[in-house]
């Protein structure tokens, strides 16, 4: 899921100070699990705005904020409240924020969160980054542990000289990705994979902005494949 965290509330309220009324949009998916865009988070934001003398014209937690069309349909139900508002505060990820921008091209839209990474929830509201969306998966060669993400240098061919007792030079809280890969491949009897030199990555696979159409009638593939 996409991991988001709340922006500094004081600074955010300062940024929003130029408007008088707000409509709040959360998201029932990732941002709810992160606690940044669920009912509770929206209510808390409404209180903070009211405490500053602002009006909150309405709020909604749409099913999937980044699904633009579905969110547009849900927002229609609250048309009056949205018409009345000066600005919209989106309490999900950057994608959800830009759904709102697309749906309301003439309204000011502000993010309440910083969008951090694609993460796994390991415990309640504890998130670890496992995948950087590099567009060219190497997990088949690395025992299912991603060195592009788990190694701060993204090394593809083994540990650097900075590994210390199995930990990373960047932080002792990070386990060296290549020591983990080595241990796992040893268990799996696949150490031969560690002797193969992986070629430089094709970073064009990560070239933003991506577009991918896979639907039957509109199938176009990734923009990159079309060159």
């Amino acid at each position: 899921m996409i991991i988001s965290k709340k922006k500094d509330r004081g600074k955010l309220l300062q940024t929003l100070d130029r408007y008088d009324s707000f409509y709040l949009i959360g998201c029932s998916e990732c941002a709810s699990l992160c606690g940044t865009g669920n009912d509770e988070a929206l209510k808390e934001m409404a209180e903070d705005l009211k405490a500053k003398g602002k009006t909150v014209t309405g709020m909604i937690v749409p099913k999937t904020g980044c699904q633009t069309l579905g969110t547009k349909v849900e927002l229609k139900k609250d048309k009056d409240a949205l018409d009345k508002t000066d600005a919209i505060v989106v309490m999900s990820c950057g994608a959800g924020t830009q759904s709102a921008v697309e749906i309301y091209p003439d309204k000011a839209v502000y993010p309440s969160n910083d969008t951090m990474f694609l993460g796994n929830m390991t415990r309640f509201q504890m998130f670890d980054e496992r995948c950087t969306l590099c567009g060219e998966c190497v997990l088949d060669m690395t025992g299912g542990i991603c060195p592009v993400t788990n190694c701060p240098k993204g090394l593809l061919n083994g540990p650097c000289g900075g590994t210390k007792d199995g930990n990373c030079e960047v932080s002792a809280e990070i386990k060296c990705a290549w020591v983990r890969i080595y241990e796992r491949q040893k268990r799996l009897g696949e150490l031969d994979k560690m002797t193969e030199i992986l070629p430089p990555k094709d970073w064009s696979a990560k070239q933003a902005p991506h577009k991918l159409y896979t639907r039957g009638d509109a199938a176009e593939g990734d923009r990159k494949d079309k060159k």
Partner: protein, 293 residues
């Protein structure tokens, strides 16, 4: 004789390190170069070591050439993408620089520009392959170039890494990728190093033991606690302590000289790489005490 020819002739080689300064005042560095001239087979020029911003390695390599020292261009993948790396390598080649040490590079979090975006477009093993390609007249994308490079390329290895197995597997990859010589991370335990050499001798590459001069017992403890891949044995720490403050540096120089002597006399490896870290002017003293001058 060039560094490459000397190393390949089987002579015990000696290299040391020059760390470019931060800022444009190069008086001390030039002085060090004068002192080192004629006493080394080559001199490494570090590349923004510890991710601290300084004069670039390439410019200082050229200065070293002008001062009569053969430079080894240290090249890390931290600050440049594949275009910049290749471009700098071509630049080094036309300036007469013939040796390159391919490294991944310390992470920016270790340095003095912690908010910098680390590059790591490619890494050490792949950089070795890139140097091979350039030596064969092709760039990394397979395009033909007008004029090839003729680099003698080396790499680094950490013999005291824990666990050692993944480190050795990477060493093998570096050999496969075209490394001709290795300069190791600092070693202090010659018996451990002999074990590493038993493994390394299986490959057709030259190995130079890395030696960092101890300045005090405190420094030894610091290395053990904070620098990955370095282990100073307790008996050396005790020896430094026993020497007392006054004699600490002198004892450190003696230890390095003693290690060089043993490595050479017992033919354990092919040479040494002395990292004096700010005391480049003391390198001749070490070499004298090791019987190399």
């Amino acid at each position: 004789m060039s560094f490459k020819d000397t190393l390949e002739s089987g002579k015990f080689v000696v290299t040391a390190e020059v760390g470019p300064p931060k800022g444009t005042d190069i008086a001390t560095m030039k002085h060090d170069m004068e002192i080192l001239k004629g006493k080394l087979d080559a001199v490494n020029v570090t590349d923004n070591q510890s991710a601290v911003m300084r004069i670039c390695s390439l410019a200082v390599c050229k200065l070293a050439l002008e001062h009569g020292l053969e430079p080894i261009l240290q090249m890390t993948c931290r600050d440049r993408n594949r275009i910049a790396l290749q471009s700098d390598l071509l630049g080094a080649s036309v300036l007469g620089i013939r040796n390159v040490l391919c490294m991944t590079g310390d992470h920016v979090s270790a340095g003095d520009h912690k908010s910098a975006r680390p590059v790591y477009d490619i890494e050490s093993v792949q950089l070795l392959q890139v140097v091979n390609a350039l030596n064969n007249g092709k760039d990394m994308a397979g395009n033909d170039m007008k004029g090839a490079t003729s680099f003698f390329q080396g790499a680094v290895v950490t013999p005291e890494s824990n666990p050692i197995e993944p480190q050795l597997m990477k060493f093998e990859k570096k050999v496969k990728a075209g490394a001709n010589f290795f300069q190791t991370q600092a070693i202090y335990n010659i018996d451990n190093f002999k074990e590493f050499m038993k493994f390394a001798r299986k490959f057709p590459v030259k190995i130079m033991a890395g030696l960092v001069v101890l300045k005090s017992a405190g420094m030894a403890n610091f290395l053990n606690n904070f620098v990955p891949g370095i282990k100073v044995p307790q008996e050396l720490i005790d020896e430094m302590k026993a020497a007392g403050k006054e004699k600490a540096l002198d004892t450190g120089l003696n230890i390095t000289a003693r290690h060089i002597r043993q490595l050479k006399e017992e033919k354990i490896c092919d040479g040494v790489h002395i990292m004096a870290i700010g005391m480049e002017d003391k390198v001749p003293i070490i070499l004298e005490r090791a019987g190399l001058l």
